[in-house]
């Protein structure tokens, strides 16, 4: 919503209020100022009167004007075609410096002396007002020849753009904004009084009638008038340009001006379209459904109240007799009806959907007032009306309750004053309860907290003293808080291990996910309005997004790319869970003197170490997961406490090639499996233990995980630890391999004797022989 200072001043006296104060006040009362611009008209630009205007002898498009600028008459050559229609104009005299540092000097144009320039609006820093120069009239005040153009307040105005919240339809007019200011600045509104001189005694009922069918939550008010010589005065055009309201034609401009000023929705029709056989204007109003109110003439729909108007019957500048309409429709009913019926809406719908001014008479009167001065208008007496029966909302307001919501004592007189200024009707009951009647234009006010908001706005939040809330102690460390803390610790460990934390969209590319064998959202549950092709499904893995991040980093010339992310993934039924994923691509470390500038690339063992440094101990076994990213021979299930909770793999080389990235390792596991568990400590032996190595020959296909599984089932309390330390294969061994396992043997009760060690190793060997077909090497 754009307003100007002088425009507001028509309804509230702002002479004592500075622009700074206006700016502060608007922000303080919740009408956020987007911009505030004071228009500066350059000095030495004055009002001039064109005395004569003749064609330039040597140029078709130029005119030579004699212009009275008060103390002298200037000869000025003007290129604008509309100068021939002008009487009063703005003249930049010699010495004036126009925007763009353009100084006016004496000049010769095609041999003719020119001592100044006749100005177009944009040449003076005013908004564009159409082709040609400005043709002034007394709408800006008395036209005094030679007077500085910038001394007219309505020209050197301050333009203020307000960002309105969705509930403030009442401020979509200059009048509405002024009303809010009136409460905030404690300045009374100027009364708007206008009574048209009675030029025509004819009552409207003789000429027109109105019928309606169906239930409607709308008010419509019609007036009939004859018009000739429709004019759109200079100020009206200038202001419409300032507030960026566009309208085609003079009549339309006047209507738009009235709507912007009063907030009343105004339309005009050619009355002929409604005339029946006998020449009587018959307006038919039909509620197609609650909220869709059609206006018909001769069975043709000419407009839908608050929604749109067809061109067919719209009054033009040369229409002799117009049917003028002011309308109000309950926005709640309207918005729902429009959404359901998908009616096409025009520019006015923004206002009607947020609640236009229901004071229809104000709109009609203002229109008559505006037209009266510049246009020959004759209105028929009276109006044709349709008005919905409405109960005005009443709210009982207790000053104590308002004070407790705000947290500050607010006096009930203060509440009454503020609400009255804002246009609320107040009655005070015997027991000091304030009964507030909510005006129709504040359809957003429904209960006492809405009233509290009005009070807060006007007294100003910055005048409310902050008070810390006093509350009862209570432990609030719940499972979500614990989970958050665990997550934070894993994130910090990942960072300590060298990984960068990635955050990617929860969306992914459906084609890519499908290509690599990951789940996509079921068709029936899929996103209906994805924002882009590559973000068209919920991700079921973080890895594709991480690989895309790696790809970008490769293009930024990065060589070592360790990334991790903890985030939500979704199964095809949209079940949400959380995973932690790692991607390590390229060099294992940055180039440095320690690796002579040639660091190794990430490999399986190094990646396992890094992932382990983050998530803690795990076992690896042959990979059971299947997807297109996995390397079939360098991949593993991650097993934590006997449960498979994710996988780790070299990225399949064809995928690395497709993404155009170097050697890469990936891991993804269920974050829930990592959540900290309770641990009970085991007793520690005081006696010395021994390490024993055993090299056995087993089938090449046999995995250490299976060998360990056999050894783990042995009930040998002295066998404290088992781990592989070497693997050896050669031609002589054929389809066998040699595996060296190290054992740590220790007793809880005593110092080991050779017999103890032999007993343990004997059982180990026999288990290996019988269950793994192992032979001692």
């Amino acid at each position: 919503m754009i307003v100007t200072r002088s425009w507001l001043n028509e309804f509230i006296d702002l002479s004592e209020v500075s622009d700074e104060k206006l700016y502060e006040t608007f922000n303080a009362i919740g009408l956020e100022v987007d911009s505030l611009e004071k228009i500066d008209i350059p000095a030495k630009v004055v009002v001039g009167k064109i005395l004569s205007c003749e064609k330039h002898p040597d140029a078709d498009k130029l005119n030579v004007c004699q212009i009275d600028v008060g103390n002298k008459t200037l000869q000025i050559v003007c290129g604008a075609a509309n100068v021939v229609d002008a009487e009063y104009v703005a003249v930049a005299t010699v010495g004036a410096v126009l925007p763009g540092n353009f100084e006016i000097k004496d000049a010769k144009l095609r041999g003719v002396e020119s001592a100044g320039m006749v100005c177009a609006s944009s040449e003076l820093g005013l908004p564009e007002m159409g082709k040609g120069i400005m043709i002034l009239d007394d709408s800006i005040g008395e036209l005094e020849i030679g007077r500085e153009f910038g001394s007219y307040d309505v020209v050197a105005d301050t333009v203020i753009e307000l960002e309105l919240t969705a509930n403030r339809g009442d401020c979509l007019s200059v009048y509405g904004v002024a009303r809010d200011l009136s409460a905030a600045l404690d300045i009374d509104m100027k009364a708007f009084e206008y009574k048209q001189a009675e030029k025509m005694k004819l009552g409207i009922a003789r000429e027109a009638e109105i019928h309606s069918e169906g239930e409607m939550d709308a008010d419509l008010c019609y007036k009939l008038a004859t018009l000739s010589n429709v004019t759109a005065n200079f100020l009206l055009q200038l202001r419409l340009a300032m507030v960026k309201v566009e309208a085609e034609g003079k009549l339309a401009k006047n209507l738009a001006y009235v709507t912007h000023t009063t907030g009343v929705i105004m339309r005009a029709y050619d009355s002929k379209a409604f005339a029946n056989g006998e020449g009587k204007v018959v307006v038919h109003i039909r509620a197609k459904r609650p909220g869709i109110i059609e206006v018909l003439g001769n069975n043709t729909v000419f407009s839908v109240a608050g929604v749109s108007q067809s061109d067919a019957a719209t009054a033009k500048d040369d229409t002799e007799k117009i049917l003028l309409e002011a309308s109000y429709i309950n926005p709640d009913t309207l918005v729902e009806a429009v959404a359901q019926s998908s009616e096409k809406t025009d520019d006015l719908y923004y206002k009607t959907s947020r609640g236009s001014n229901p004071d229809l008479e104000f709109g009609l009167k203002f229109f008559a007032f505006l037209m009266d001065h510049y246009t020959d208008i004759n209105c028929y007496e009276g109006t044709l009306n349709i008005a919905a029966e409405r109960d005005h909302a009443k709210i009982l307001v207790d000053a104590a309750e308002i004070s407790s919501i705000i947290g500050m004592e607010v006096d009930s007189n203060k509440i009454v004053t503020i609400l009255q200024k804002l246009g609320f009707d107040i009655t005070i009951t015997a027991d000091h309860v304030i009964a507030v009647t909510v005006p129709l234009f504040r359809h957003d006010i429904k209960h006492i907290q809405d009233i509290a908001e009005e009070i807060v706005r006007i007294i100003g939040i910055n005048n409310i003293e902050a008070k810390p809330f006093v509350f009862a102690e209570k432990a609030r460390l719940n499972a979500t808080t614990d989970r958050y803390k665990a997550k934070k610790s894993f994130r910090n460990r990942a960072v300590g291990t060298g990984f960068y934390e990635n955050v990617s969209y929860v969306f992914s590319d459906k084609t890519l996910l499908e290509k690599y064998g990951f789940a996509v959202t079921e068709e029936a549950l899929a996103l209906a309005n994805p924002i882009a092709e590559e973000l068209n499904t919920l991700r079921s893995t973080l890895l594709v997004n991480l690989l895309n991040a790696v790809k970008r980093n490769v293009s930024y010339s990065k060589k070592s790319m360790p990334l991790f992310e903890i985030g939500a993934v979704f199964e095809s039924n949209r079940e949400q869970s959380e995973v932690i994923s790692f991607v390590f691509s390229g060099q294992i470390e940055n180039e440095n003197v320690a690796n002579a500038g040639k660091p190794a690339f990430i490999d399986f063992a190094s990646f396992v170490k890094k992932v382990g440094a983050v998530i803690g101990a795990f076992e690896l076994k042959t990979c059971s997961v299947k997807n297109g990213l996995i390397h079939p021979y360098q991949s593993a299930d991650i097993v934590i406490e006997g449960k498979v909770c994710g996988f780790l793999s070299k990225l399949h080389p064809t995928v690395a090639e497709a993404f155009d990235i170097p050697v890469t390792f990936i891991a993804e596991l269920d974050f829930d499996a990592l959540l900290p568990k309770h641990i009970n400590a085991k007793p520690i032996s005081k006696f010395q233990g021994v390490y024993k190595d055993l090299s056995v020959v087993i089938d090449k296909a046999m995995r250490y995980y299976d060998v360990a599984a056999v050894l783990n089932t042995l009930d040998l309390p002295m066998l404290k630890d088992i781990y592989p330390v070497d693997i050896y294969e050669d031609e002589k061994l054929g389809d066998k391999k040699s595996l060296t396992i190290r054992f740590f043997i220790q007793s809880m009760e005593r110092t080991l004797e050779d017999a103890d060690i032999e007993a343990v190793m004997g059982e180990v060997m026999s288990a290996l022989e019988t269950q793994c077909k192992a032979e001692l090497r």
């Binding site: 969705a166 509930n167 008070k467 979500t480 929860v506 973000l535």
Partner: protein
């Protein structure tokens, strides 16, 4: 004697000194030779002779020890020096990753509220109309729904447009008093220089008995919170509108870039908008079946906080895993 003394002092390496030691103190050394002469010394002079010899031996031993210390120290220094490296070559070897600035900012926000006895709550990203809109006093066709362009699923589900549905879920599951924050990922169907389809919010909610929670309380906690996050800034509250709070306010801090002078970042206003807040609308309490309660709620965008706090110019870069950005936060 002087001559011998000189030999020790002249030794310029441990090796030479060792030769001198053998020559002087060895079994066949000069001193041993002297002591051997003892037997030829007549009785009465023997004592004096022996004393003289011992004195000389002690003096030589002392010189020797002193010389040894010096040469040993020189030797150690030589070995150490041979191991010298240019330490400055290795400064950049340590490789630490970095937390994402948005997540790190979220941590800081959560830490603040947890320290003030707020519980952390969470909810699903895929929501329904009731939790995301209806219960938050955003009925269908409400113009305020326009403010939030929503991602819908074909079955009518939607991606939550704010973390506010977590308030609703928490209130439906527990009884007041409530003191919670809901950090989380949210979605709006918007993508340009200043909007991404996904971002993060932290929502706060306090509910207690009727008459207990006031707007003044909200002012107190948010002013303190913003000064904790941004340092010594001015905090300004502006009335605003949110369907789920009444009265509502937007909260600005004085511009941290120009300190209120007016610059491009603050659109020459001197203020930066950082928060929305208000007193919980009675319709929200009605939707969850709460009676005779009062409460406040607030919500903020984590990306905006992160960008302001760390002067990150481009929102979209936050979602690209760009190591050039991330490595600055090591």
């Amino acid at each position: 004697m002087k001559e011998l003394e000189e030999k020790i002092v002249q030794a310029d390496s441990l090796e030479t000194l060792e030769k001198v030691r053998v020559e002087l103190f060895g079994k066949k050394g000069i001193l041993a030779g002297q002591f051997a002469k003892m037997k030829d010394v007549p009785g009465p002079e023997k004592k004096a002779f022996a004393e003289g010899l011992n004195k000389n031996k002690a003096a030589l031993q002392a010189s020797f020890d002193a010389r040894y210390e010096v040469l040993k120290a020189e030797e150690i220094e030589r070995v150490l020096k041979s191991e010298e490296i240019d330490v400055s070559l290795y400064g950049s070897l340590a490789q630490k990753g970095a937390l994402h600035p948005v997540m790190e900012t979220m941590d800081k926000i959560i830490d603040y509220f947890v320290a003030l006895n707020f519980a952390v709550e969470s909810g699903p990203m895929v929501e329904d109309d009731f939790h995301n809109f209806e219960a938050l006093n955003l009925p269908k066709y409400h113009p305020a729904r326009d403010m939030q362009d929503t991602f819908y699923f074909k079955d009518g589900g939607l991606l939550r447009t704010h973390t506010s549905p977590v308030q609703i879920r928490t209130m439906l599951e527990t009884k007041p008093p409530i003191r919670m924050i809901a950090p989380g990922t949210v979605f709006r169907r918007d993508y340009d220089l200043t909007h991404t389809p996904m971002f993060h919010q932290v929502e706060g909610l306090v509910v207690d008995a009727k008459g207990k929670v006031s707007f003044a309380n909200l002012k107190a906690i948010l002013t303190d919170f913003l000064q904790y996050m941004f340092g010594d800034v001015e905090v300004r509250f502006r009335p605003s509108f949110f369907p789920f709070t009444e009265p509502s306010a937007e909260v600005d801090i004085s511009c941290i870039f120009c300190e209120g002078e007016g610059c491009r970042v603050c659109s020459h206003t001197g203020w930066l908008e950082v928060l929305g807040c208000g007193i919980v609308d009675p319709n929200v309490f009605k939707a969850v079946g709460y009676e005779d309660v009062s409460g406040y709620a607030f919500g903020l965008g984590v990306e905006r906080f992160a960008m302001l706090m760390h002067k990150i110019p481009d929102l979209r870069s936050l979602f690209e895993g760009d190591i050039r950005l991330l490595e600055q936060f090591r």
